[in-house]
Symmetry: D2
Subunit: 337 residues, 4 copies
């Protein structure tokens, strides 16, 4: 941490800041510059809360050198987190494809799509039973009935189930049915929910908020790890920008960035990340090429009948073609798809 | 709603879309253009879900004409919502100032700040007992103990209390103590929480998410009204942009925008909206000048000792000066402060 | 400047960085932290180019403490820049209103609007003769013919003229006719144009690019001052964000920010900053309340006949009302309008 | 085009808008809705200027159905633009790699890097002689001396040259030396420069502004084509977002988007698009996988000695490895690298 004093700050102000640092159990190094004094702070392993220093007389700015996250960092664990979920490896050389409809709409639709994604080679099935929707008048999901249908899918096709938990009251119920519990982008900073997720004995798929910096994204993962659950799968799903005409921008550069600073696996969601089905296959290929650990893809056998997000769902036929492409490219990149 | 067909779409595709519209109980008007067919849809009072139409063969785009919100709109209620909260008028000619510390830290700090903001003329006291923090290692609030201190403030100074509810499990508890229940920016799209807020018999202060469009903001308010609670106070608190070096941009233009399309009152939070105390007084003045219905301001008697957000808190002395400025300007603008 | 070394960087890497700093004529202070070495650099008055240090082995990050601008900074000149343009004071207690049509369309339209804004009390007339338009098929301005009409306006009404220069080839011509030469938002980083502006003997009105950080904005002003022209008027005109449904967000917080770090005057353009006429009067009031030094406002007697930007132009009648409001508020704020 | 009337607009207002449309030579179709009248406009092949209609009494909004660009659109030319530049094919199945230093610093540096990129298999050499820099105090390029060095590179290694033109005064000089003339991101809306580029007999490499929507990007290309020069290569180079901690986000989704609506080739610049060399190889692979037509990459034999942008330059050795990877992946994707 570096404390930049104002040009006009006197010796007294500098002394008081140094005293404060010392009282925090850290070491202050006052360095006189040509215009202003700078106080370097050492002794902290991770970023320390120092808003109060920022408000002290004569302080112009506080610059952090260390990042704010701990347990999710490469400093904490140098090697990649690799974990097994019901026989499927997440992370490492493995490339995990999770596919299925946006919403579980009914038993027939769900079983039909599950059959096709299973035949195409996916091992993990996605489908929402609790749906966060912008409008209170939109379809909100089948709730527990949807979870039961997902359980049938697991039974029938041996697929693992990933599905979203929307609040602290139902996350326990979701975890009973799911193999992986998803926390959606809009809930990325719902800290009560993150804490409960951290006490589950199920892996968590945490989606990046569409406004979130990578530091904030990792801090939300930190909430889960801090409660004891170390099996977190990050998911890049597109950020909102001012330069995009329709929908979001899938930030593929976040993959090498996160790989550099964190040991957690990260997958990409080109369906929500683009909102348009014609962009899904090229961005799925790009996600593999950039080094992601997997994909989350929306597949629907009849997108025009989908109760949510039909425009971004690809058909089972397109998904089958995509899986073939992915396997070929994965082989080239020494990944197992 | 306007459905734009692709240039190459044939008669059959157009006919099928028109049939679909008819089956939805709406009326389709096919209009041949020089390059492509356009189908105008009438008969809907508000925006209809039409993702499935977007995925029909030959459809290029769907353009909405009506906005997605209903109960919050000026069409639903032409005159401003004005309501009384414990003797204080919100909306209309009234300009309501809510002030206090970011967090309730302890009884002494809270009573001391409450005394000063009360003497300066504020009628509503803010202070967080449950705090959403980016880091799991930061101070998370005193919880119910904090709520009890807030109840003491009400008793001692006759101030109304506004404080944040973070999740569905504790919102009921918060509502027992608060006069106004705040839903924070990070929870703006926590729909489970919004629904519970909609069933409370307390006014809701809903803060705009730092990524949210105004339509999304109003849709979140719609969730509350749809459950029966019509007393929602909107709060502009700054949005995140790529062009801002430190912190957020307070979007004051959202005030006339929202006033035009919605009947709900809207206040501004220049403390979170800027993150820096030197910007708070000028932006507070600007908020009044632009037509906002009030302010949410962080005040701390010793910002450097604040457990959260000290850098954006102004002192009681500065707040007193600001209140005088606001009263003078309010008189000029025919508002009661 | 602070150089953060990687955790695994050895003594040799640290020594080489310190040597490099020394060779640059600066002083290196190596400070051992609990995880990594940090090297503080002193001896530079302003920010130094150090991209090459960033690429040295073992270097993790370089953090700047000093800002990159010099001549525009408060360190360079503590008191506000106040200057006279043809009898009108810019900066200080003065509040300067510049008004007129987006484009000079013809002599009659221009003279008519000029008469009305002059009668309403404006002293500076705006109008574009060279127009940067998104489409090559839109009206591009009258060119020199437009400049001649502007000269007539000055002659007839004693108004000063501000008009835009679009390129290095015509800026000299524009400067012959204009009292203040405008550089538009799209050209904010057209460095060739900025350099030519810096060699003119006319004040420059520099508009902020809709993507630009405040540091970048000030660096563009620095280009003008570095060439010798110290009379620069900054203009906040709205930035683009992902959270805004229609148009731009006027960043009024930039006014106190810039006032704190720079001595240059700054005005606001609520017409381009909002794009909608109903937002212009409230944001004009807010600009005055936040501490801006003036306004740039589009006025048109027949907005629906305007050849450009009609939707954001207010009528002469509305402008007259606005000027009255501004004078009343200015008096309260001890400004002269 | 669809004109949405206000709910309270009367018959007279509707009639006047319809008359205006008719006078523009277009056809108006008034469609009564449940709340408001909507007027569909047909007869226009491309988007028409209609700001004046937006300001007519009773008009609430104008919604465009057609896009604003013409010559760059797929409607204008259904098949991909493929063109030859000195024996190298741009577009179609070809994947073109352009590589070299950010700046031409001196003859030795330039020849040395040129030799290595040529040996690695690149056919086009990049290097800036005129450099747009945020600071007036940074290295601004060697100017014509740099162009002469680039001419030597072409002579010595048979590489084609792409280099940037910064203003209307020097673009002619640049075109004398370059095989492809680059227009940088900051000049994307420098319309005077675009028009001059449109009159050159050299292909133009047009970089996307870091704030620009895809429509705006294509409209800038439209300026070049409208002047007669149809050989434009688009370049995605990263956009600025609020969610990115350090630098820009390379918007790879723009590639399938642009391929869908325009016939022009599009390449990606992962060096500027990320600003950090460790991200360059993964994003270069992703650009190929997403369907781009080529790459623009910064290579420097001694990044720490580079006079500009060293942190994002990769070494010749890394570039050689990258070229091998690209060739393997290109073969899989049926592209020629």
């Amino acid at each position: 941490m570096l404390i930049v004093m104002e040009a006009r700050a006197g010796d007294e102000a500098v002394r008081r800041v140094c005293d404060e640092i010392t009282q925090m159990g850290l070491t202050a190094h006052a360095i006189p510059g040509s215009q202003r004094m700078v106080i370097a702070v050492t002794g902290n392993k991770y970023r320390v809360d120092c808003d109060h220093v920022r408000t002290m007389p004569g302080v112009s700015d506080v610059v952090h050198v260390t990042h704010p996250y701990k347990l999710v960092s490469r400093e904490e664990q140098a090697e990649d987190s690799v974990f097994d979920v019901g026989g499927v490896t997440i992370g490492g050389q493995s490339f995990a494809v999770m596919a299925g409809p946006c919403s579980v709409e009914n038993r027939d639709q769900t079983m039909r799509i599950a059959k096709s994604v299973s035949e195409a080679g996916a091992r993990i099935f996605r489908g929402g039973a609790f749906k966060p929707r912008t409008s209170p008048y939109s379809f909100q999901g089948l709730g527990e009935e949807g979870l039961k249908i997902l359980a049938e899918v697991r039974e029938a096709f041996g697929l693992l189930i990933v599905t979203e938990a929307m609040d602290t009251e139902t996350i326990g119920l979701v975890a009973e049915y799911a193999d992986i519990v998803q926390i959606g982008a809009r809930n990325m900073q719902n800290y009560s929910l993150l804490r409960k997720a951290g006490r589950l004995n199920k892996p968590i798929l945490l989606k990046r908020g569409m406004w979130a910096t990578i530091d904030e994204f990792l801090m939300s993962a930190e909430y889960v790890l801090a409660e004891g659950n170390r099996r977190v799968i990050l998911c890049e799903r597109g950020i909102r920008t001012s330069a995009n005409d329709n929908g979001h921008v899938l930030d593929l550069g976040s993959v090498p960035h996160i790989k550099r600073v964190s040991h957690l696996p990260i997958i990409c969601d080109p369906s929500h990340g683009t909102g348009q089905k014609y962009k899904v296959p090229p961005l799925a290929r790009a996600a593999l090429a950039v080094g992601a650990d997997g994909l989350l893809i929306e597949v629907h056998h009849a997108p025009m009948e989908a109760l949510s997000d039909g425009p971004q769902a690809i058909t089972p036929t397109d998904f089958d073609t995509l899986m073939n492409d992915m396997r070929n490219m994965a082989a080239l990149l020494h990944r197992t798809c």
